[in-house]
């Protein structure tokens, strides 16, 4: 993992993701739920990717999921990252997947299918969801 996470590129909310990052500051993992068909999605688009409805509710996810798959990076592309470090897709209990790092465990001990729970990385004006073993 990075020695100093604050020097990593920190996300900034755009219009579509503002409620996600507002929720993150409160420790809530927010997803978009289609008000018409009920499909859940990561808030990277304004329309439902199942039925194309623009009617959306924001709901708090459980924060639980499983490691869908992962990798361990050995090549340094950005000075804020000390290699090796892990990269993962976590499949949320609600279905969508999220891009993240697994924390609180050695890279060699991460397993596909491992239950994980959200672990917020807090900065002054943004919080980012990492995941740790449940």
């Amino acid at each position: 993992m990075a020695e100093d996470a604050a020097t990593r590129p920190l996300p900034e909310a755009d219009e579509a993701s503002k409620p996600f990052f507002d929720g993150a500051m409160l420790g809530k993992l927010m997803l978009m739920k289609c008000a018409d068909c009920g499909a859940m999605r990561i808030p990277s688009r304004q329309h439902c990717d199942v039925c194309l409805s623009a009617n959306t509710d924001w709901v708090e996810a459980s924060g639980r999921g499983v490691v869908r798959t992962f990798g361990v990076m050995h090549r340094q592309y950005h000075p804020a990252f000390t290699v090796p470090y892990n990269l993962a897709f976590v499949e949320l209990e609600e279905g969508p997947r999220i891009v993240t790092n697994i924390v609180g465990i050695g890279d060699a001990d991460i397993r596909v299918g491992m239950p994980v729970v959200v672990d917020w990385e807090r900065h002054e004006d943004v919080a980012v969801p990492n995941f740790r073993p449940a």
Binding site: A13, A16, A39, I42, S44, F70, G71, R75, Y77, H78
Partner: protein, 395 residues
């Protein structure tokens, strides 16, 4: 009744520049070299070229890639078909498809399809060429989670796909390594290949991690260079300079967002969809394919592609490739020029150029049985797929 598109067009010209750490020429100049060679190779007159399809490589995203101005650079006048296409690594196969459709519709007769790239810079490492786009300190929106988590370069998502296959099906590094070893064995017989030194499975295992589970020798090369092919109406192809390589089947498949609920992007590629269309058009199945030229950005791409075309069952790709059947003397010769792993990396033009060489019977000591050649392109992270089935026989 055969499908009307089967055998309606053929590849009649091929131009390949020197490959690899080739410096001193822009992507545009490399493209011009490849196009000139393809026209000379075909026996067509330049004035007979009435279509131009262009695919810039990674330099297309830097502003230094080839673009529509290539028409003027080449002095091609009064074209009836022109486009700058991009479906990532599936574009080369797709250019042949759209050229064939246009020819069948009477919109053009001889269409040049060209790819050129020059990401390598003298004095800089190969890895620096594909490090990803500029990195703002505050990237916006949900996509920023990729930058924050440290997803840099194309290797990351392919590593994640490979990991999932290994976990679900027990695929191992001996099996992935068998792909790399087989392709290197082919490359030793290809004078154009960048990596011609023999390689063993031990060499593969000893190569450094890029991103686990991918070793260096699981990953494709990076190349400066250009490839052009010419697609012609089958009737025009018959009396040209080279043996025609006929297009028997075409298909595409694009599975969609990997982050959506229910996606199996890691282990089910667009090849599954493309296979149905292409095999259906050709009237063939995997049992009829005599050699494969598969997009092989990573060893795993070959494994999952073979599964998705039905050469073996889903999940059995590892054991399927482990016995050496892909290599010289094997029962399913695959990537007979060394592919992108050991030959050269011209996106979908790598498999396509070798498919044309094999289809013509010009493979020299690496020539294999070429009655039905499966040629694929793959882009994104198993996101975009183009398929061609090619043959030296018109029907």
């Amino acid at each position: 009744m055969p499908h009307p598109a089967r055998g309606a067009t053929a590849i009649t010209g091929l131009g390949i520049t020197p490959m690899g750490r080739i410096f001193g020429k822009s992507a545009t100049e490399l493209a011009a070299d490849a196009v000139r060679e393809a026209i000379q190779d075909s026996g067509l007159k330049k004035s007979e070229i009435d279509g131009l399809l262009i695919n810039a490589g990674i330099t297309g995203s830097t502003g230094h890639g080839i673009n529509l101005s290539l028409q003027n650079y080449l002095g091609l006048q009064d074209l009836r078909l022109l486009n700058h296409m991009n479906a990532a690594g599936s574009t080369a196969a797709q250019m042949v498809q759209y050229a064939s459709l246009a020819i069948a519709a009477g919109m053009a007769t001889n269409v040049v399809c060209v790819f050129a790239d020059a990401p390598l810079v003298e004095g800089k490492s190969t890895g620096a060429a594909y490090g990803g786009p500029a990195r703002p300190s505050r990237p916006k929106g949900m996509a920023a989670l990729y930058a924050h988590a440290g997803f840099y370069g194309a290797n990351t998502s392919y590593a994640l796909a490979t990991r999932r296959h290994m976990d679900l099906y027990g695929t191992n590094h001996d099996q992935l390594g068998a792909v790399a070893v087989a392709e290197r064995a082919w490359a030793t017989m290809n004078p154009r290949a960048q990596m011609r030194e023999p390689m063993t499975l031990a060499d593969y295992h000893a190569s450094r991690w890029i991103i686990e589970p991918l070793h260096l020798l699981d990953c494709c090369l990076v190349s400066n260079g250009a490839v052009a092919v010419i697609v012609s109406a089958a009737d025009r192809a018959a009396d040209l300079a080279q043996p025609p390589v006929y297009v028997w089947g075409m298909g595409q498949g694009h599975p969609g967002d990997p982050l959506r609920a229910g996606s199996n992007w890691e282990t089910e590629s667009g090849a599954k969809i493309a296979a149905q269309t292409a095999f259906g058009m050709a009237g063939l199945g995997p049992q009829d394919i005599t050699c494969c030229e598969l997009y092989d950005c990573y060893t795993y791409t070959v494994v999952v592609t073979l599964e998705d075309y039905g050469f073996c069952k889903k999940g059995e790709g590892g054991p399927f490739v482990q016995d050496g059947k892909l290599g010289p003397g094997g029962s399913l010769p695959t990537n007979t020029g060394g592919g992108e792993l050991s030959g050269y990396y011209m996106w979908g033009m790598t498999p396509l150029s070798e498919a044309v060489i094999q289809g013509r019977g010009q493979g020299g000591e690496r020539q294999v049985k070429n009655d039905a050649i499966l040629c694929t392109g793959n882009g994104g992270t198993l996101s975009y797929h183009g398929a061609l089935i090619l043959s030296p026989h018109r029907s």
